[in-house]
Amino acid sequence: MKLRLSPQTLQVLDAFLQAPKDWIYGYDISRNTGLKSGTLYPILMRLAERKLLETSWETAEVGKPPRHLYRLTPEGMRFAQEHHLRHAIGRLARVAFSGVNR
């Protein structure tokens, strides 16, 4: 499965991992990650196209437009955890090696 894992995509995946079972609004992800809509939504679209993200419409209250909700699929969860772990190990290794080199 090919997905360009930019730092922003990792940020989005991390945001989902903070509450893995919960449905999240797009604007909330934007606020948590600091990503603008022009960056966030293409990432969400790519994740959804690759079946890593599931989407749902919230039943609208009267007078309010319905909101789109997002949650990682089980496959998306595995993918996010795997990459989260890989990046955490990478960060640790960099810190350790920079300590050795000093």
Partner: protein
């Protein structure tokens, strides 16, 4: 409702209206969030970012569809509009080029038929035939087409501006 929020809402409604069927859900999703953004200016920025996101999503698909890779899939109204505008503009440019080449050819033919020894008069005649007459034709035709075939008129205006820029550059360098 403040002006920036009104503008944001109008922009996103237009995006929803013109987006292709596979982008429409996403456009609606971005529109749905707009009411929950507290700041009016942040709402406008949200709308601008959302528009760019939908364009990023739609344009590559549209280009692929244009080149036949996805010809069997449904084409969105936005892509149809883009294609029609591009075709109109291109035809405007083509018409302008034909007029210009025709004028240039006519001048050359006149010089062959009636050789003119006075160089100053020749230069003025050339300037008149190749620049002034085509520019006038461009302006008149652009004005005539502006209401009914705007994209074609834009193509003609673009050519007129390019010709003027070319002449200005030519005159300043020579």
């Amino acid at each position: 409702m403040s002006a920036p929020r009104r503008l944001a809402s109008r922009l996103l409604h237009e995006v929803v209206r013109h987006s292709s069927s596979d982008s429409r859900d996403w456009a609606n999703a971005m529109l749905g969030e707009l009411d929950f953004i507290e700041s009016d200016w942040a709402a406008l920025l949200w709308a601008l970012g959302s528009t760019s996101a939908i364009l990023k999503h739609s344009v590559p698909r549209g280009l692929r569809a244009c080149f036949g890779k996805r010809s069997n899939q449904e084409e969105g109204p936005m892509l149809k509009h883009i294609r029609r505008t591009a075709a109109g503009t291109l035809s405007g440019v083509m018409i302008a080029v034909v007029v210009l080449v025709g004028a240039f050819g006519l001048v050359r033919l006149l010089f062959v038929l009636y050789p003119e020894p006075d160089l100053k008069r020749v230069q003025w005649a050339e300037l008149l035939a190749v620049i002034v007459v085509p520019e006038t034709i461009f302006i008149v035709s652009a004005l005539a087409l502006w209401r009914k075939r705007r994209s074609m008129a834009v193509g003609i205006v673009m050519s007129a501006v390019t010709l003027v820029a070319h002449v200005v550059v030519h005159l300043t360098t020579h």
